[in-house]
């Protein structure tokens, strides 16, 4: 099939893969990519419960505004879209 927009996926070189945990489960991500990027690729989209009714929510604006991807790293609430994957990073759900 003729493609006017080429598939660039095979030409992308990424950093090494490392393991991190989210909510006690182990995931793989590339060093330096955002947690949202790594968890999205792993198919894990539900990141928190809505503050009022606990309904599942995930990354929405992906630019640090909506706060829907809030997670906990080192006891601090951070945006998963603005937090980088590193080896053995421990990420918890906001309770």
């Amino acid at each position: 099939m003729i493609r006017l927009v080429p598939n660039h996926a095979p030409a992308i070189r990424r950093s090494e893969k490392v393991h991190f945990t989210f909510d006690g489960q182990s995931y793989e991500g590339h060093v330096g990519e955002s947690l949202v990027s790594a968890l999205t690729r792993a198919g894990h989209l539900s990141l928190r419960g809505a503050p009022v009714d606990g309904a599942p929510r995930g990354a929405f604006c992906c630019m640090g505004l909506c706060q829907e991807c809030a997670v906990i790293v080192d006891g601090q609430v951070v945006e998963a879209c603005r937090t980088d994957v590193s080896a053995d990073l421990v990420v918890e759900r906001v309770r």
Partner: protein, 466 residues
């Protein structure tokens, strides 16, 4: 701790980056603050360190050129820096900046706000399901991480962004289940004369659409997503033809990218006293500002999409204009560039923004049970009930129901709420201003906002005599 500069620029996108460069070349001491790890803004967002190499795109090339020019310049760059408050103190601007887990003050004689845009998404049932992201959010994933939103994605929304996102999914090896756009082919045909001045951008858009058609991706013109299915994550959508009693068709998908136009981020300008006007063809509420960025507030300048959505080409040109204007106002002899290229680019941008605006036929897809305020899980019925008991302004709905007081600070609900107030009260949108903006402009942990202090050092006034 405070550092003083001639100029502080907030936002390192095409507008802020170029304004900083021009002002620094004129001999001024410029600090450029941005919340991202590298300059570029949303449109020229830089790749994360996880990408060792990847094919270039027009956006990555423009961004690399800006980043290199800034590195070679005298501009001081403060990246990963979030400005959460701005105040006028005597003859200077005092900015509270959160960086590396600490808050400190940056001061400057002149301030350029290049705060860019965020996105409007019309609420429909299921739009809070994990796997639904904004069109602009999708571009952030593509540019920064070269990551797809899922394995099979429905792309929906207005203006050119919907086709750009669909095309980027194809470029990164993903599958587009369908493109659903409220715009009709007739609307695009009528926009052609305004687009003719930017043939390169026009050609790019035509190529995105042609590629999707060749790949037999369904393109549903005059349609919108009326419902997203799924519990813990997206399983599919229903798309309906607008304005008709169409039962709609369903598409299975594990992800949805959706957006209904960009909105200028005006909160900082509003907070500092700039008057705002309603101009739908510029994305809604825009600050009152000259083409070169000058405002009626002494020492305050605005530039780029934060003054009205005109697109990256116009933003870069306006940044140059604003940098030159500030330099001249600060006593530097500098060449004032012509307004003509900016006007030409702005004409194209306005036409694209006009195509992207929220419309009543899409707003009608929000049901009573649809969540409008994501942070507080407030449904349309909750907002309507508040209006029914007398809330006639966004501030009143905010006080009554907390819509705008959650973690996002009202960034994703206020356009929908203003439209509901307009529809219920019969007032035009131009009479329903956004709520009064208040610091913090960005979320800031209380401990960091307060900083280090000893309780003994707190000034406690003497109690009044009994």
């Amino acid at each position: 701790m405070s550092t003083h500069h001639d100029i502080a620029v907030i936002g390192a996108g095409p507008a802020g980056g170029n304004a900083a460069l021009v002002a620094a070349r004129a001999g001024l001491d410029v600090v450029l603050l941005d919340e991202q790890p590298v300059p570029g803004g949303q449109v020229w967002r830089g790749k994360s360190p996880s990408i060792h190499s990847a094919p270039q795109t027009p956006e990555s090339q423009s961004g690399d050129a800006l980043r290199q020019a800034l590195t070679e310049s005298a501009v001081e760059q403060l990246t990963d820096a979030r400005v959460w408050d701005i105040r006028r103190q005597d003859d200077r601007w005092a900015l509270q900046v959160l960086r590396n887990g600490e808050s400190h003050e940056v001061a400057a004689s002149a301030l350029i706000l290049a705060t860019g845009a965020r996105e409007y998404v019309q609420p429909v049932p299921g739009w809070t399901t994990p796997g639904v992201i904004g069109l602009a959010g999708a571009t952030a994933l593509f540019k920064q991480s070269l990551t797809l939103p899922g394995t099979r994605t429905v792309v929906s929304g207005t203006g050119p962004l919907v086709f750009y996102v669909a095309s980027e999914i194809r470029r990164l090896g993903g599958e587009v289940a369908a493109v659903v756009t409220p715009n009709t082919r007739g609307e695009w045909a009528r926009a052609l004369p305004a687009m003719a001045g930017q043939p390169r951008l026009l050609g790019r858009g035509a190529l995105w659409v042609a590629d999707l058609m060749l790949a037999r991706v369904p393109i549903l013109w005059g349609h919108a997503i009326s419902e997203v299915f799924g519990g813990n994550s997206v399983t599919g959508v229903r798309a309906r033809r607008l304005g008709e009693n169409d039962p709609g068709q369903e598409f299975s998908a594990d992800s949805v990218c959706v957006g209904h136009g960009l909105i200028p981020q005006i909160e900082a300008a509003q907070m500092l006293g700039v008057h705002i006007l309603h101009d739908p063809a510029l994305g809604g509420w825009v600050p009152e500002v000259q083409p070169d960025g000058a405002t009626r507030v002494d020492g305050l300048y605005l530039t780029g999409d934060g003054c009205g959505i005109r697109g990256a080409t116009a933003a870069a040109l306006q940044g140059v204009l604003t940098g030159a204007r500030v330099a001249r106002d600060m006593g530097k002899s500098t060449h004032m560039p012509s307004l003509r290229p900016w006007r030409r680019a702005a004409k194209f941008g306005r036409a694209m923004t006009a195509l992207s605006q929220p419309r009543a036929s899409v707003a009608a897809l929000t049901t009573d049970e649809t969540i409008v305020c994501r942070c507080e899980s407030l449904r349309r019925a909750d907002i309507l009930a508040e209006i029914a008991i007398g809330a006639q302004s966004t501030n009143a709905v905010k006080s009554g129901r907390r819509a705008g007081m959650g973690p996002c600070g009202g960034k994703y609900c206020q356009t929908a709420i203003a439209a509901l107030i307009a529809a219920q009260t019969g007032k035009p949108l131009s009479e329903i201003a956004p709520p009064t903006p208040r610091p913090p402009l960005r979320p800031v942990p209380l401990s960091q906002a307060a900083g280090d202090f000893d309780y003994d050092d707190l000034p406690i006034p003497k109690p009044a005599p009994l």
